[in-house]
């Protein structure tokens, strides 16, 4: 009969089996399929032709890099803004708001469950000509200004709005990891508020902050609806390029090649950052 320790040692892998099997079929295999398609000849729909690098050549000689730069740039701006917006809130949730924190957290969670495009549509109604903002300005103050819709700024606003919880929650986890005793000790030793922030708060809450950066950046790079709905297709991010290749252009192999390149960028970033972290410490193992 197996001993108790044997039983325990086998329990971990055993419980992991369903998730692993599922992710092999549902995640790894589809990604392999994309990689496979990216080596197929142009405008074909099967997986078993002679492989070639033609699609990659096409991508590198085309103007897709502009879309790539847009995606990365918009995501970078979004993440920086989010960090500035979220840090005070995370600090408040972790240290100041006390029992109100749970309710506030819930309020920040609810919009996550309404689909992105619906919420962005709310912003259209807000900003559109004769909409909530401009209509109010016109009827109350007689001011008539151009609508801000379909500009780069409004795309960033939409992305900040959609990805805010993904920055806020990891950041709050991070900030709440800083022990009060350490901060008090620093104050007692005569550190200024700024010094405490720089030497204690920031380094100790770094794991949560970095996860927040990573999560919101990766999601923002993959954003598509913001540019389509709010940006009026003025800016074409890489995800939109990929979608065009799959739908209008009916060129699956080219779209796959673009997707593979995006996956490589995102995957490299995620793996480098995640490798350095002990998830148990962040998620609160006791």
């Amino acid at each position: 009969m197996a001993t108790a320790t044997d039983r325990k040692a086998r329990q971990g892998p055993l419980n992991a089996v369903p998730v692993i099997l599922f992710l092999i079929v549902g995640f790894a295999a589809p990604l392999l399929a994309v990689i496979g398609y990216s080596f197929m000849p142009e405008r074909t729909f099967g997986l078993f032709q002679k492989p070639s690098f033609d699609n990659y050549v096409t991508v590198f000689t085309s103007t897709s890099y502009i879309s790539f730069l847009w995606s990365l740039g918009l995501a970078a701006v979004t993440v920086i803004l989010l960090a500035l917006i979220c840090y005070p809130i995370a600090y408040g949730l972790a240290r100041v708001f006390g029992r109100w924190s749970t309710l506030l957290t819930l309020l920040f969670t609810i919009p996550l469950f309404v689909s992105e495009n619906v919420r962005l549509y709310g912003w259209i109604l807000f900003f559109i000509k004769n909409g909530v903002l401009l209509g109010t300005l016109k009827s109350l103050f007689g001011i008539e200004i151009q609508s801000w819709l379909f500009t780069e700024g409004i795309i960033v606003l939409g992305m900040v709005y959609v990805y805010l919880p993904f920055m806020l929650f990891p950041m709050t986890l991070g900030v709440s990891m800083v022990p009060n005793e350490t901060r008090d000790a620093a104050f007692d030793l005569g550190a200024t508020r700024w010094q405490v922030f720089k030497e204690v708060d920031l380094p100790l809450s770094m794991p949560g902050i970095v996860i927040g950066f990573l999560l919101s950046f990766v999601l923002a790079v993959g954003a598509i609806v913001e540019a389509k709905v709010l940006g009026g297709q003025k800016v074409i991010p890489i995800t939109h390029d990929i979608e065009i290749a799959f739908t209008y252009a009916q060129n699956w192999p080219l779209g796959s090649a673009l997707a593979v390149l995006l996956m490589v960028v995102v995957g490299a970033l995620v793996l480098t950052v995640l490798r350095r972290f002990d998830l148990d410490a962040i998620l609160g193992r006791r």
């Binding site: 892998p13 419980n15 992710l23 996550l112």
Partner: protein, 269 residues
């Protein structure tokens, strides 16, 4: 009040003011949707010339909308049941047991969450095509699961971290079978995590657009329908459905949270 206390107060009120401003920012679009749904006219102008709830009635009486609800709910319910079952065991492996490959396993589980959903949707479309699976709401269930199983695993894991393994050991020592331990100890203790996991699963599936877009085939979910209507052929039915989605999410989450609080209170008594 001494100066230090006063500055502390002052900082706290600044934090409150900022946080509440951002909360308002988060709900501004929902408010706009609500306003737009209460217009009597076909097109939205503000200030609203004539208020009316005709569009609510029209939307709820439409056969097309009933079909959409049916599709969306079927997908979300199936996703919830399957995701919670797989994720329950996944969470035990994630947070409860000490084993060799655990750290790697944790990172693999996180990967799909960190992956752009629109690309994942396309990848699944290619995969279904390569294997020869016809697209319908059933393939969308599978697609949703790829993203939702990891999320739910994470949600349940957070509960598992605060679970004391000694409880299970004690039950084993008292002669309980594996099944009894599961039913009498593990499941009840982890219930809050499983409950919030199911809420997450249901709502994330209900609101998902990027995965559904590529994998539902001829079937249509509510977010897909709304998107199609936004791009072409706006009707005030769009804000009506949008408002319904927001209110449902708020209701389920606040209600679920209330239930958990009540349960905790009852236990403490």
């Amino acid at each position: 009040m001494n100066p230090a206390e006063r500055s502390q107060r002052w900082r706290a009120s600044l934090l409150w003011a900022w946080t509440l401003t951002v909360v308002v920012f988060m709900y501004l679009p929902a408010l706009c949707l609500l306003l737009a749904s209460a217009t009597a006219s076909r097109y939205f102008t503000f200030p609203i010339p004539k208020w009316g709830f005709d569009w609510w009635q029209k939307t709820f009486n439409s056969f097309e909308i009933h079909q959409l609800f049916k599709t969306s709910i079927s997908i979300a319910l199936l996703v919830t049941v399957i995701a919670v079952t797989i994720a329950f065991f996944g969470a035990l492996a994630f947070a409860r047991y000490e084993w060799k490959g655990r750290s790697l396993y944790q990172k693999i589980v996180l990967l799909p969450i960190f992956f752009p959903q629109s690309v994942l949707g396309l990848a699944l479309l290619l995969w279904f095509n390569a294997v020869g699976i016809d697209l319908s709401w059933k393939s969308a269930v599978f697609a949703h699961l790829v993203w939702i199983v990891p999320v739910v695993t994470l949600v349940i894991s957070i509960q598992v971290y605060s679970f004391d393994p000694a409880l299970e050991e004690a039950a084993f020592d008292l002669g309980a079978t594996r099944w009894q331990v599961m039913k009498e100890v593990t499941l009840p203790v982890l219930f809050p995590g499983i409950f919030s996991g199911s809420l997450f699963a249901f709502l994330l599936s209900w609101g998902n657009f990027p995965l559904s877009l590529f994998t539902t085939g001829a079937d249509t979910t509510i977010p897909e329908y709304l998107y199609a209507k936004m791009v072409a052929g706006y009707t005030p039915g769009v804000p009506v459905l949008g408002t319904v989605s927001t209110v449902t999410a708020a209701f389920l989450l606040l209600g679920g949270y209330g239930l958990i609080v009540l349960r905790r209170r009852a236990r403490l008594k």
